[in-house]
């Protein structure tokens, strides 16, 4: 067993050693614990902030892109609507044209047919008239074998036929 210091004692050398030891410990802890950990924490904070910034930028970009897209989409929709509208209009026009043309044609045809019918009827009437007149003359000639002169005769028949024509 060596010597002992007193139980309650202030030893100058021990004081000096205490200071030196405290300083050494302070420097060692600073170097090996506080500095690296602070560096890591700061770096992480930096990283997190950067990440947030990036996220914010990406969000802004996405919003801009979305706006752009929606604008484009709205434009496209408008365009589509216009196209459809134009097509419809054109189709309506065309169909109207076709219908009116058809109608015109039909009217033409009808008119032509009417004209033809009319002329044919006239022809037929005329034919019938002439035939009738000749038949009537014949019949009259046969029935009334009298000397009604041809002239009166003709006149009479003509009157008769006119009467028919008016009646018909």
């Amino acid at each position: 067993m060596g010597e002992y210091l007193s139980f309650v004692d202030i030893n100058t050398w021990e004081l000096i050693f205490t200071w030196v030891n405290l300083l050494i410990l302070f420097l060692l802890m600073k170097k090996f614990l506080f500095k690296p950990v602070r560096a890591i924490l700061d770096k992480r904070e930096e990283e997190v902030r950067k990440m947030y910034d990036d996220a914010e930028a990406a969000k802004t970009d996405a919003a801009a892109l979305e706006a752009q897209y929606s604008e484009k989409l709205a434009g496209a929709q408008q365009e589509a609507r216009e196209i459809v509208e134009a097509a419809r209009r054109r189709a309506a026009e065309q169909s109207g044209e076709i219908v009116s043309e058809a109608r015109n044609k039909a009217a033409d045809l009808l008119q032509k047919a009417n004209v033809q019918i009319e002329s044919e009827r006239k022809d037929a009437v005329n034919e019938i008239k002439s035939e009738l007149s000749s038949i009537a003359v014949d019949i009259a000639g046969k029935v009334i074998e009298r000397d009604i002169n041809e002239k009166d005769h003709e006149k009479l028949i003509q009157e008769f036929i006119d009467g028919i024509g008016e009646a018909s």
Binding site: M1, G2, E3, Y4, L5, S6, F7, V8, D9, I10, N11, W13, E14, L15, F17, T18, W19, N21, L22, I24, L25, F26, L28, M29, K30, F32, L33, F34, P36, V37, R38, I40, L41, K43, R44, E47
Partner: protein, 239 residues
């Protein structure tokens, strides 16, 4: 009851004694440095290991405490406070391993308290200038001697508080060990064997319970108070 043992004396400048306290402090410094290196080895920005989490938690807690007590202005004191707290608490807790606690030596605690004293005065001078510093002792004028005494009493009170608590724990623990040893040898008198009589069986359980108070609780509390007072004094000196 003795003070720290003198292991050997370096024969220069009238003999520098290398005592138990000094050697234990070196052991603690080596231990703390090893733990620090172990905790911070291979740290990554995205924490992967438990070690890094512990290191970050400790450092963050310390910085938060210092910022809370002293304000953002004095955040640079955090490493010193951390070092002081670590050496203080481990120096007291080292009694659990059978080492003589370094804080049971008045020179150690007085050394730390004097560092605090110097820091307080320097901070005061830096904040108010030499004139303001001198003037702060004469507020009010009649109280000047008392102000000076109270200023000087601060390190003494701090060092004696820390030293007294740990030393008292040490004294009481050793008293209890001695008492328990004699109690067990008294009880074991019924056994006719010198070897068995020399076994202090009662020393096995009871001191552990007491050491929870005297070692764990007191160590932590005294380290905390020492650091807390240091922070408060330094901070209020700069006001």
């Amino acid at each position: 009851m003795n003070g720290p043992q003198i292991y050997f004396t370096i024969p220069v400048l009238g003999g520098i004694p290398i005592t138990e306290t000094i050697v234990n402090t070196w052991i603690l410094i080596a231990f703390i440095t090893t733990v620090c290196i172990f905790l911070t080895r291979g740290m990554k920005i995205i924490p992967t290991g438990r070690r890094q989490q512990i290191a970050e938690k400790l450092v963050t807690m310390l910085y938060n405490l210092v910022e809370e007590v002293m304000g953002k202005k004095y955040i640079k004191f955090a490493p010193y406070i951390g070092a002081l707290f670590t050496i203080s608490i481990l120096g007291s807790l080292s009694s659990l391993t059978g080492m003589r606690p370094i804080t049971a030596d008045l020179s150690t605690t007085l050394g730390w308290a004097l560092v605090t004293f110097v820091m307080v005065q320097v901070n005061n001078i830096r904040a108010h200038g030499v004139g303001g510093w001198l003037k702060s002792f004469t507020q009010p004028v009649v109280m000047t001697p008392l102000n000076i005494i109270s200023e000087i009493a601060n390190p003494i009170s701090m060092s004696f508080r820390h030293f007294g608590n740990i030393a008292a724990g040490m004294v009481i623990t050793s008293l209890i060990y001695t008492a328990l040893a004699s109690l067990s040898s008294f009880v074991l008198q019924i056994v006719p064997s010198v070897f068995i009589q020399s076994i202090p069986i009662f020393q096995a359980g009871l001191p552990a319970i007491l050491s929870i108070y005297f070692d764990l609780f007191t160590s932590f509390l005294q380290a905390y108070i020492f650091c807390m007072l240091t922070m408060v004094f330094v901070q209020s000196a700069g006001e």
